[in-house]
């Protein structure tokens, strides 16, 4: 059978950079084709070429779709023939209903008057197909990210999709939602719909993909056929980074000291609903030089716990005690928490971590401006020195420290956020999803930095949804579910199974 899509010799140049260099991609009908590569390898650019975001003529090479040479001038043209992209950042309108979103721009109408009966009926069918049990009139803002993802897919289905492109669809989904999504893709495959799956989660890819194309630095490295060759994660990583990554986590010999942070009977209520307890009677400790993990599903209350400790940045009706070095610590405001020696690196570095319009220097010193000023006047020499210092130490790849952070890659942005918090001289670092959306190579560097911080005698509390990461990095892991700690494992006893079992068992007790 002829390929449904063949991209031949695609070259795309931006002023100053060759983003794609002679890239080839061939997708067979009814297959799941995974596209992997580090951030900046050219995956998204390639998909923008395919969908017409970069119109015909702005790139070199040819696109054959269903055997015909295609010259898409915009997204409407590619959607018209059945190529639908679902972007990482979902394109749904929060305050419109599911049905309104699905038919947005494509309303079932006569003379401009929308036929709501038909819209709702079709929405119900579509939701059934994607396995989403929700009322079509429910507002998008009231359903979780996982369900929103499904609505996006339902929207794609409403447009008679033949080739579905998913850009990191599971990046913000829990394991359960991810599995549901992947089995949906397998279902589509049976119906003859092809998909291109862009993902950093290699375990998922090895589960569902028929073929894997690996991009590196804007060129095609290789295409692996999953049915004829043995595929494992290390094999893919090797292709992505061009070297063997035998050790995905840098080695470290823990030097654990006395108790540094002690949190006792910590409770916090939802920031809007005062009667909803989201953090329930949590007790934990972090010792000097120790990396402690908090495992759990999305929405289990991990971020809420961390932020409520960090100067009540989240929630209301907070109670409990925090002790640092055996003494009661005042963490009632963010400033006091910082003074007490706590730093919190958010899970969302773009929205909550950085001032993207500002440069590296200004972001680095933001949380400790008094550290570079006398009597409220900033000493620019000193500030520059501090920022350059961290840039070297953290190996932030940029043109100097005057570069705006918006132009940095995810990994380098995260290093700037880490620099900002290290400059406050924290004793405890709470890292919330420190490697989310960061490519494999940069992840390793972040891990190395975390290890070094622990070796300096600081305590690290690490929240992550990627269990292998916690298992690879932590000395001790707490398991959180529905606002409670439901298990605690030393590194030696922890495994994906024990953690999942702790979560499941806590559910059964209800």
């Amino acid at each position: 059978m002829a390929a449904i899509l063949e991209m031949r010799g695609i070259t795309k140049t931006f002023p100053g950079v060759k983003a794609l260099d002679n890239v080839n991609l061939k997708v067979e009908p009814g297959e799941i084709h995974a596209l992997v590569g580090e951030n900046g390898a050219g995956k998204s650019t390639l998909m923008k070429v395919l969908s017409g975001v970069y119109p015909f003529g702005s790139y070199e090479g040819e696109i054959f779709y269903e055997g015909q040479l295609s010259k898409f001038r915009d997204i409407a043209e590619s959607e018209h023939v059945g190529i639908i992209i679902i972007h990482q950042e979902l394109a749904l309108v929060p305050l419109l209903s599911i049905a309104e979103n699905i038919f947005l721009g494509n309303e079932t109408s006569r003379f401009g008057v929308i036929d709501w009966d038909q819209a709702f009926a079709r929405t119900r069918d579509l939701l059934k197909t994607v396995g989403l049990d929700e009322n079509p009139e429910t507002l998008i803002t009231n359903i979780g990210v996982g369900k929103q993802q499904l609505v996006e897919i339902a929207k794609a289905l409403s447009k008679k999709v033949k080739l579905l492109i998913l850009d990191e669809p599971t990046a913000s989904l829990s394991e359960k939602d991810s599995d549901a999504l992947l089995s949906l893709l397998l279902n589509f495959k049976k119906q003859g719909i092809s998909s291109i799956l862009i993902s950093h989660k290699l375990n998922e890819i090895s589960k569902v993909a028929d073929q894997i194309t690996i991009l590196r630095d804007g060129t095609t490295v290789e295409t692996l056929n999953c049915h004829t060759t043995e595929i494992n994660e290390d094999r893919i990583i090797q292709g992505m980074v061009g070297r063997d990554m035998a050790h995905r986590y840098p080695p470290r010999t823990p030097k654990i000291g006395e108790t540094l942070l002690e949190v006792k009977s910590w409770n916090a209520h939802h920031h809007l609903h005062a009667d909803r307890l989201v953090v329930k009677n949590i007790n934990f400790t972090v010792r000097k030089g120790e990396i402690v993990g908090i495992a759990g599903l999305m929405g289990s209350g991990r971020t809420e716990l961390a932020m409520s400790i960090f100067g009540r940045a989240y929630g209301q009706g907070i109670s409990g005690t925090v002790r640092m070095n055996g003494k009661d610590a005042d963490v009632s405001t963010i400033n006091k928490a910082i003074e007490a020696g706590i730093a919190y690196v958010t899970e969302d570095r773009k929205q909550l971590g950085l001032v993207l319009d500002e440069n590296i220097t200004k972001n680095t010193t933001l949380a400790n401006l008094p550290g570079v000023s006398t009597a409220m006047v900033i000493d620019e020499d000193k500030e520059y020195g501090v920022a350059s210092d961290y840039r070297t130490k953290m190996r932030i790849r940029s043109f100097g420290v005057a570069q705006q952070t918006v132009n940095l890659s995810g990994g380098n942005q995260q290093k700037v956020v880490l620099s900002k918090w290290l400059f406050t001289e924290p004793q405890i670092l709470i890292l919330d999803e420190p490697t989310r959306g960061i490519d494999v190579g940069a992840k390793y560097e972040i891990y190395a930095i975390i290890n070094e911080l622990a070796d300096q005698g600081r305590g690290v509390l690490m929240i992550s949804s990627e269990m292998p990461e916690l298992l690879g990095m932590c000395d001790r892991i707490y398991v959180m579910n529905e606002g409670k700690f439901v298990g605690e494992f030393p590194a030696a006893e922890a495994s994906q199974e024990t953690i999942m079992r702790a979560i499941m068992r806590s559910k059964e007790l209800h």
Binding site: T13, P15, G16, V17, K18, F310, G311, A313, I334, N335, A337, I338, Y344, T346, Q351, L352, G353, L354, V355, L356, D357, E358, N359, T361, K362, L366, A367, L369, P370, S373, M376, V377, I378, E380, D381, Y384, R397, S398, F399, G400, V401, A402, Q403, Q404, N407, K420
Partner: protein, 407 residues
């Protein structure tokens, strides 16, 4: 701001076509591109607009009397633009300042004329009232999280109404002589010697000195700063303009007092925005309020303070304006907020917050002022004056957005 050197680190891919506008290209184009295009562009635009009106008014614009008027007419706009810039950078807007100008002017008149309060005490009271009004609006905006647009729109109505109430619908004046000096006074001559030129020299030296320090800092820190040549040319031109201006002023009555107030305030706010922690925090707050808050910045208090500051400056502007007219009228300050906001946006401030410069806002204020003045001399009606001002504002912001997208 975003221009950077490639001293190390990433190198662009090889075999890549060179961008059309090479920042290192010689000549004017390169000069413009290399430093801060925005600043030069604005300054050049101001000069071109002045030359244009000098031509179309047959030389009236640069006459000593008219130059003096130009300064006096614009002083309150400039003063308020300083406060408005901070408000806009913090991500807010203040529509109430026109009414505030009217109200504080009215208050000053009633205190001094009707109640014979000492002018110094009355001035302090008026500044305090301005600050209090700013604080009350700031409280709603910062702590109760009511959008600034709505709070200050309400303030605009409330204080216009109170102006009418305080004045009981009539104009009140004249002011005591000493108070009038705020607007109508000039730097006194020293034994008959006009101090305009020496003062201009001092101001110029301050400008060159601070500019040079900043330039050498930028070079040290790896920011692509302008070349020494362009720095010299730029400051040479500024010097010429400054001395030419001062010379013209000596032909009339010398430098107005209010010009000195303005200059001191401009330098103060430049310092605060560029060099102090509070300035830096306002920019961070406007750039990303959540990130700023999580970095331990007291965002509410900072927002509150920017409105207090705006209130005090609007109070000062109200008194300067009243002193200039020598009466407080119920219509005093109507529409001023529009000129002030326009000045900030022409000067490159972003409506989204986090971006904007004091120098830009001041030049923006003068662009508006020169246009007002020039068009009035030309005899263009108030109808088309507004049309033209509106179009200039739109064009300036379009140019800004276009430049940003190209970068």
């Amino acid at each position: 701001m975003s221009r950077i050197t490639a001293e190390e680190g990433l190198k662009p891919a090889t075999g890549v076509p060179v961008a059309k506008t090479d920042p290192d290209a010689p000549g004017w184009r390169g000069l413009l591109k290399k430093g801060n295009f925005r600043d030069y562009g604005l300054m050049i635009a101001l000069v071109l607009i002045m030359l244009f009106f000098e031509y179309t008014t047959h030389g009236v614009l640069f006459q000593p009397l008219n130059l003096t008027n130009l300064i006096l007419q614009n002083s309150y706009v400039v003063v308020m633009a300083l406060g408005m810039l901070l408000v806009i950078v913090a991500g807010h807007i203040d529509l109430s300042i026109g009414s505030l100008v009217g109200f504080v002017g009215a208050l000053a008149a009633v205190l001094m004329v009707n109640y014979n309060v000492n002018y110094a005490l009355a001035t302090i009271m008026c500044l305090a009232v301005g600050g209090l009004i700013g604080a009350s609006q700031g409280y709603f905006i910062a702590y109760l999280k009511i959008p600034s647009f709505i709070v200050t729109l309400a303030g605009m109505l409330v204080f216009r109404g109170l102006t009418l109430a305080v004045l009981q619908g009539a104009s009140v004046g004249p002011f005591p002589d000493f108070f009038q000096l705020l607007s109508k006074g000039f730097i006194p001559k020293l034994n008959g010697f006009d101090l305009s030129l020496p003062i201009a020299a001092v101001l110029w030296l301050i400008l060159v000195g601070t500019g040079w320090r900043r330039l050498s800092n930028q070079r040290k820190h790896g920011v692509v700063a302008e070349s020494v040549g362009s720095f010299l040319i730029r400051n040479g031109v500024i010097g010429l303009v400054l001395f030419g201006f001062a010379f013209q002023m000596t032909q009339y009555r010398g430098l107005p007092n209010v010009l000195i107030i303005m200059f001191v305030l401009i330098m103060l706010y430049r310092f605060v925005t560029n060099k102090t922690t509070i300035g830096r925090r306002i920019y961070a707050l406007g750039g990303n309020v959540k990130a700023a808050k999580l970095s331990g910045i007291k965002t509410e208090r900072l927002t509150f303070l920017t409105f207090v500051n705006m209130g005090v400056l609007a109070g000062l502007a109200g008194m300067i304006f009243a002193a200039r007219l020598n009466t407080a009228t119920p219509k005093g300050g109507v529409g001023f907020e529009l000129d002030v906001i326009a000045a900030c946006f022409i000067g490159g401030a972003s409506a989204a917050g986090g971006v904007g410069k004091v120098t830009g806002a001041v030049i923006g204020a003068f662009i508006i002022g020169v246009m007002n003045n020039g068009m009035s001399i030309m005899g263009i009606g108030i109808d088309y004056q507004q049309v033209i001002k509106g179009l200039v504002l739109l064009a300036a912001v379009c140019l800004d957005v276009y430049n940003k997208n190209k970068a």
